[in-house]
Amino acid sequence: MSTKFLFIEPINILSIIPQYHILLAAFLIMWLTWFISKRYYSRDRMLTEDEVEKKLAEWNPEPLINNPQMNHISLNPRRIMSRAGKKIVVDGKDCLNLGTHNYLGLTENNEIEKNAIAAIRKYGVGSCGPRGFYGTVDVHLELEERLANYTDTEEAVVYSYGFSTISSAIAAYCKRRDLVFVDEQVNFAIQKGLDASKTNIIYFKHNDANDLQNLLVKQAKIDEQNPKKATKIKRFLIIEGIYMNTGNICPLPELVALCRQYKLRIFIDESISFGTVGKHGKGITEHFGIPKQEIDMIMGSLDWAMGSIGGFCVGTSFIIEHQRLSGLGYCFSASLPPLLTTAAITSLDIMKNNPQIFKSLRDNCVAINEGLQNIHCLECSSFPESPVKHVYLKNKKDRAAEEQLLSKISNRCIENNLAIITPVYLEAEKNLPRPSLRLCISTLLNKSDIDFAVNVLKKCAEEVLSVE
């Protein structure tokens, strides 16, 4: 072949390949040039100093804090001058405590105190590091093992903050393309976990299994259009055992049946129900007699019944192990201080060795519930055995008026030596719960305490409402 042909050959190709190919190639090159030049100019366009200064002079940013408030009620919270046990000193008034979540009365336990002191003497106060970097103290492993044993699950993971437990655990599994069915009254920590995961959320009516079923059927119809895609979407159901914001118990058997039918993984926040309901205080699953393998993950808090601080998740190793590298609040936060870990271990021991505390707690809850039914100006629809009770005004009013009345009743109760409070909510809540008085019932109360509490509440409520 001579060199002449070598030059002609490429030109020949043009006649061989089809026309549309050439057009396509030309178009592609043009598009590429346009794309590159656009990116180049838009990103690296030199901003002239004049332009910047002109814009800067025009720009008036908002102040860091938009409307500073100096007299908001939250700025002067009540001061607690004592240990928050059965009794509590609120603003100098010695009260019977129905305000803090001390369901099992463990904040005053001597054994816990003794062991916590021993923990300070052995480990110091802080753990000085996250779990990965020499922050795993042997007591953490012990607590995890004990929790797993106590709840009859394979594995447990302990966090250093109750709120972050819930929000980190949810965000570790639910991702952008997933589908999460959530009760509309879930607490704020779950809401934030869902926000962090940026997942697709479908709310169903509070405690309404039928509504959930309707939504699931609707979703199943959508899935039929694209079955291949549908098999890849992870689906979750997130509920609370006993709802912090209403005091209601979830209809777990119905929900579990739906989950099995529609292939949802189920996560339960047992912050309130763990250590309070069930014969051995093992929570909602024990209460309904549902086997543990039906539930994918249980999240709980060490803050309330356990009388310590922190949170935990229990479930199968397959699920829980994942959080040790993906739970943000677990990996990137310092571990729970050893003294609080030891306190939680001791609490578990007490719970294990004294199952009668759960019975007396249940009796107290039911007794208070009966007493509340006799106060005619108020109504309480919370689950009778729930240690959290929300009491609402019988006559509905607008939000501000209800808030004002309830806080008056709360103040009047505290003046009369009974600590009952109105729960504080932020406006950022998804569904702002109706204003209420919240009662937290402890196992330590006896008959006369309960009578005293109901009578004082009745008297104060009637006094305040009669003035209206």
Partner: protein, 551 residues
């Protein structure tokens, strides 16, 4: 004299040559005028000093570039690991729990993630999550564990080993089981119990919290402060009440996960600027002001710059003076996360502002944690009365999460009073000085050994670069055999090529302990080939400043 002058000139020429290649120094650092490094364990060059622009932020930082051959090897090593893992996956079934009774469900985890965890990370899994059973002080007792199946499971041997602790964030040595802090915490525990089962806004607000808040505000020199029970949550749960949709946040690329989470929750637009790079930050600010919000072009509601005081993985200290100038010039706000710097930096242990001698009131939002220097747990936000009042009303953590445990709060109060000297002793002063001394000495010695270390010469966090994934494991394991506990960090926590060993210094360390550690690092550097640095090494012995001397 003459020979000295000649060597100095030679060294100088060499220095210029490598810095011209842009290999030795991080370009941006040079451009910022922080040629610095003069006393960093190397020969001093007077000529360099005069040539450099006036150093505004006293910052002496070094981010030496990775040698080309090491970069190639690191990549190669990583791919070999992945390839071996892939073969491993084909041949052997993993010894991990499987999901039961969930047939027909969408798989819970991504394939690549599980592969990476099982076949790459598992090989070095023993280097993390090591259980301890003592105070994490100057030394720490590790529970020995072995693995018989290459990292799938671990068994405790029942023995323990006491190691010099370079892993915990115990900067001022307040992790103590005895002494004033522990005693007072126990007193408080006896009086108020472990916890009070309520949030601050409900029935959890105790005088001890108020005392701590006032003390924190006084310690930092600002109007007011608010404290929370967890450092991570301080960022994650308060940023949403400070920025919102329509606000722009300029965030340093090395910011902590808690800040990133908080920003994600807030809904604000986030733009990332290069690590500690003031020029890039300025460019981002200019762009933001000129172009406004994307799409509409409306001006931003407000612009917030978020930086950390000391970056825990880079060992660098924020260039605060320059960033403050920018903030003022461009009407932005500054959020400073002092998780690792409060207590650990500055002449009086007051953090970055103290270090640069800047009035802390110039920073809009000061955030910090109590886990590190104070040997406790929790976090604070400090600033103007208006800001703190806003948080008291709108903060998620303040409203919903349990209040701080009283003995935890007491530990902070006692240690903070010691640092600030309010207890009437010079113990705090002694600790901050000791930490500064340890830091300088340790960093200079490492430079002399010839390993590459990142960050500022005053930062008590010292990352030593080992690059290769397998070297992280090798270094951590070998150091443990010599009873030294250090932390290894690799991909995905760091960029692929920048595997590193991190040392956290403490005021509790003695010179003998540091010398012992350095001796073994030097030996390791030879046996594993860690002397990557091409800077000139100081041939003279490094001095450890005695108590009387101040720098």
């Amino acid at each position: 004299m003459a020979t000295q002058a000649i060597t100095r000139r030679k060294l100088n020429e060499h220095e210029q040559k490598i810095s011209k290649n842009g290999l030795t120094f991080h370009e941006d650092i040079l451009a910022n005028g922080h040629a610095g490094l003069q006393t960093n364990g190397r020969v001093q060059f007077s000529e360099e000093k005069t040539r450099a622009e006036p150093v505004k932020s006293r910052s002496k930082e070094s981010f030496e570039r990775i040698p080309f051959i090491t970069a190639v090897l690191t990549h190669l090593g990583f791919y070999i690991l992945m390839f071996l893992g892939f073969i491993n996956q084909l041949l052997f079934t993993p010894k991990v729990a499987q999901e039961h009774n969930r047939e027909g469900y969408a798989p819970l985890y991504e394939n690549f993630d599980t592969f990476y965890l099982r076949y790459v990370y598992r090989r070095v899994r023993d280097c993390w999550n090591r259980p301890i059973c003592s105070v994490p002080g100057a030394t720490v007792t590790l529970k020995d564990r072995i693995t018989k199946d290459y990292g799938w499971t671990f068994q405790f041997t029942g023995t323990t080993s006491e190691c010099i602790n370079l892993g915990s964030y115990n900067y001022l040595g307040f992790a103590e089981a005895n002494g004033k802090c522990a005693d007072q915490s126990i007193e408080t525990l006896k009086k108020f119990g472990c916890a009070n089962c309520s949030s601050r806004l409900e029935l959890g607000n105790m005088p001890i919290h108020e005392e701590l808040e006032q003390l924190t505000a006084r310690f930092l020199g600002v109007e007011d402060a608010i404290v929370f029970g967890m450092g991570f949550a301080t960022n994650a749960l308060n940023l949403p009440s400070l920025v919102s949709k329509g606000c722009l946040v300029l965030s340093d690329e090395k910011n902590h996960a808690s800040l990133i989470l908080g920003l994600r929750l807030s809904g604000a637009t986030v733009r990332v600027f290069k690590h500690n790079n003031v020029k890039h930050l300025e460019k981002c600010l200019k762009t933001a002001i000129v172009f406004g919000q994307p799409g509409t072009g409306e001006p931003w509601k407000k612009i917030v710059i978020i930086v950390e005081g000391v970056y825990s993985m880079e060992g660098s200290i924020v260039h605060l003076p320059e960033i403050l100038q920018l903030k003022k010039k461009y009407k932005a706000y500054l959020y400073l996360d002092e998780a690792h710097s409060t207590g650990a930096l500055g002449e009086h242990g007051r953090g970055v502002c103290d270090y640069y001698k800047i009035n802390p009131r110039e920073v809009d939002i000061l955030m910090g944690t109590f886990t590190k220097s104070f040997g406790s747990a929790g976090g604070y936000i400090a600033g103007t009365k208006t800001l703190i009042n806003h948080l008291r009303i709108h903060s998620h953590a303040h409203t919903y999460a349990a209040a701080m445990s009283p003995p935890i709060a007491q530990q902070i109060i006692t240690s903070m009073k010691i640092i600030s000297g309010e207890d009437g002793t010079d113990d705090g002063n002694r600790r901050t000085k000791q930490l500064a001394r340890n830091t300088r000495y340790f960093r200079r010695r490492l430079n002399q050994i010839g390993v590459i270390i990142y960050g500022n010469e005053d930062s008590p966090v010292v990352p030593m670069l080992v690059y290769l994934f397998s070297k992280i494991g090798a270094v951590v394991r070998t150091l443990t055999t010599y009873n030294i506990a250090a932390v290894g960090v690799g991909f995905p926590a760091t960029p692929l090529m920048e595997g590193r060993i991190r040392f956290c210094l403490s005021a509790a360390h003695t010179k003998q302990q540091l010398d012992y550690v350095l001796l073994h690092i030097e030996r390791l550097a030879d046996s594993l080939g860690l002397r990557y640095s091409r800077k000139i090494r100081d041939p003279m012995p490094i001095e450890y400043y005695s108590d009387g001397e101040t720098e």
